[in-house]
Symmetry: C2
Amino acid sequence: MISGKGRAVEREPEQGQDPRAVADFVERFAAELVVAGMGRMPSRIFSCLMAEESGVLTSAELSERLQISPAAVSGGMRYLIQVGLVAKEREPGSRRDRYRVLNDVWFESLTRRDELLLRWIRVLKEGEATVGAGTAAGKRLEESAAFFEFMIDELHGMLGRWREHRAMRGREEAGGQEEAGGQPEARRQQA
Amino acid sequence: MISGKGRAVEREPEQGQDPRAVADFVERFAAELVVAGMGRMPSRIFSCLMAEESGVLTSAELSERLQISPAAVSGGMRYLIQVGLVAKEREPGSRRDRYRVLNDVWFESLTRRDELLLRWIRVLKEGEATVGAGTAAGKRLEESAAFFEFMIDELHGMLGRWREHRAMRGREEAGGQEEAGGQPEARRQQA
DNA sequence: CCCAATATTCACGTTTTTCTGAAACTACGG
DNA sequence: CCGTAGTTTCAGAAAAACGTGAATATTGGG
């Protein structure tokens, strides 16, 4: 038996799976994002885009799939765009926007972490001065600052290694499997 | 001119700085933590402990310094202890608890990140199956999972390097400066 | 075994956040 | 330059989170 959810794999081996199950996944993943601190709507919207074949949806589509008002989509998008997880594009010849989940989402979002860390470092060093550089508390704060400085460096190194790693994975996959079936549907990105 | 905040450095080069300025720092750093997603009370409590010379405070002390009810301290502590940022100890011969900020707080808290990442990976892989492993969406989800797997490895590597880095910093400091003045006040930890 | 000192839990009032419907705005097509 | 499809903003209702005071539980000392 293959998957076993009632209706067999009729002829859509690549697109129209059970929308029920997909919606389930969307909610489940969104919940994880919420735990990690992202708002509810941004999480659901983002998750929905991730699960979308093309990675692109209009406001109306999101509104329908998630059962939320256009206003909620707009609000959630403001956040997602601001933090660089999603790009807004306008399809020429139409007046509605399309929202695209960016390709290297995680990668990019980690980069943005720097600013936060730098702010922390500044505050901690001021704290060290306030509390007295020679005191135990001062040392504690100083060590925290040092840790975050270290982390910034490490983050950069890591992202470089990910680029490599990812490139290798890509090559392996292309070599080991046939992959040139259809068109290059997943054009790399555009922003 | 040295620091210039009115009263000169009278004779407490190592402990009783302006409580005003310290409280300021506590609030400022707490605000950063809030931005990063931590609750308000946990942030303030944690920040307060970080700025405390001994790194240890009782519930009553926290209650007074932060102007919050004992209930708020208790609630905040439940969180801080759960995520491993603070340890609760009971001083023998007394019936009140003392809360100690752990030494390698950041280090430890990063370690705990693993669980979160593993959960994400699981969810993403289920999503890949749901959506179809061969589809573009499937690949997108799979690549996200791969990124997080990569991150877990990197995290471990990084923590190892931090241990080294930190040990080196410690040695440098001990070598370049006199450090053996008083007692070993900052006994390494106890949990 | 009871008393007193702390800590925790719970129900409640308050503040914040969240989401919606409706109005205002924008930009493309004609 | 107008009309309209679509998006954003805004005020307000609904829901959630927060913090407190009071009650309850726990624990060490006598």
